[in-house]
Symmetry: C2
Subunit: 166 residues, 2 copies
DNA sequence: CCACATATGTCAACAAGGCTGACTTATTTT
DNA sequence: AAAATAAGTCAGCCTTGTTGACATATGTGG
């Protein structure tokens, strides 16, 4: 619609290409979250519940502080969501034997069931996109995404494909 | 932390790899939005303001309906944000000569300045990640992201690097 | 021309999920 | 014994999404 100056910048990619990447991220993330969001809405939950359930499911025995570090929200924000999930029996907590101040979180069977229901859609979306793009593209996809994460938080997602997230 | 069954599934990638991709998306998007969010908070704005400014800047002369189609929110949600941006002089609207019901949106100089300030951080983050990962990885990154977008909305982000978003 | 559809805007009420600040209770560390 | 840490709670605020109802201007098809 308007003319772009095709700036030859010192960024290796032209600004036009970088902006397209920004837009791809926006649209992809928007659609990536839309399916679980719709299911959550029916259950009276929101996206924050999915995030809590997801990361507890992936890291059984996670402490509250660690979950806060992953989500980068305040404990007051988390407590609303986590409190609901505990009261409604999706998550249970147990006192850590080695440090009795800590509460270690785990999914119940009910929690695992909901986690699967929600994450399934996202797994299929990512799987389809990766399959269609090919193995090499998938590798690049993961490498660039990883490079976008603040260095201090990259340890949450391992480089090699065989280690778990914790 | 727990053992994963290394399911040989019909999805071309194992579930472990797919889950890692989901986590990469979460962390990357979380950090991708954090810098503009901090600036916006100081100005009394939120992420929704950035999105409106961004897409109007990228598509000068965009109609309100088109912006709604991009953002996939209700017009009532948009009107709050857009109203502020209009009143505070970041965006102007002009009646479309060919269809006088339509209001075509454009950034003012002030709006362009804010847009650049906000998007700059994201451009640098993406540029760095792409540069470090290499040209081939970047290509794959873009291809997979594109494949994650609902087909009906892929037209907003062109395939070839030289066409604009509209 | 009239009826209908479309584009935009507005008012009101509600909910999710962020935030800050203040304060408590256990427990561990120093 | 004091300080730091982990967790939890209460209260209030903001942004940004939602629904529903309605108003106005303009375009379109019969």
């Amino acid at each position: 619609m308007d003319h772009h100056k095709t700036k030859v910048n010192p960024l290796f990619l032209r600004e036009e290409e970088l902006r397209q990447s920004i837009e791809l991220l926006f649209f992809a993330y928007r659609d990536f979250t839309s399916e679980p969001d719709a299911i959550l809405a029916e259950l009276g939950f929101g996206r924050a519940h999915h995030r809590a359930i997801y990361f507890v499911g992936r890291n059984p025995g996670l402490a509250v502080n660690q979950l806060l570090d992953i989500l980068k929200i305040t404990k007051q924000s988390l407590s609303r969501v986590l409190g609901q999930l505990l009261r409604e029996g999706f998550i249970v907590q147990a006192t850590d034997a080695r440090d009795r101040r800590r509460r270690l979180l785990r999914l119940t069977a009910k929690g695992e069931e909901l986690e699967r229901l929600l994450t399934e859609k996202q797994l299929h979306r990512v799987a389809r996109a990766c399959r269609e793009a090919g193995a090499e593209a998938t590798e690049g996809f993961r490498t660039v995404l990883r490079g976008m994460i603040n260095v201090g938080d990259r340890h949450w997602v391992p480089l090699d494909a065989d280690s778990a997230a914790m």
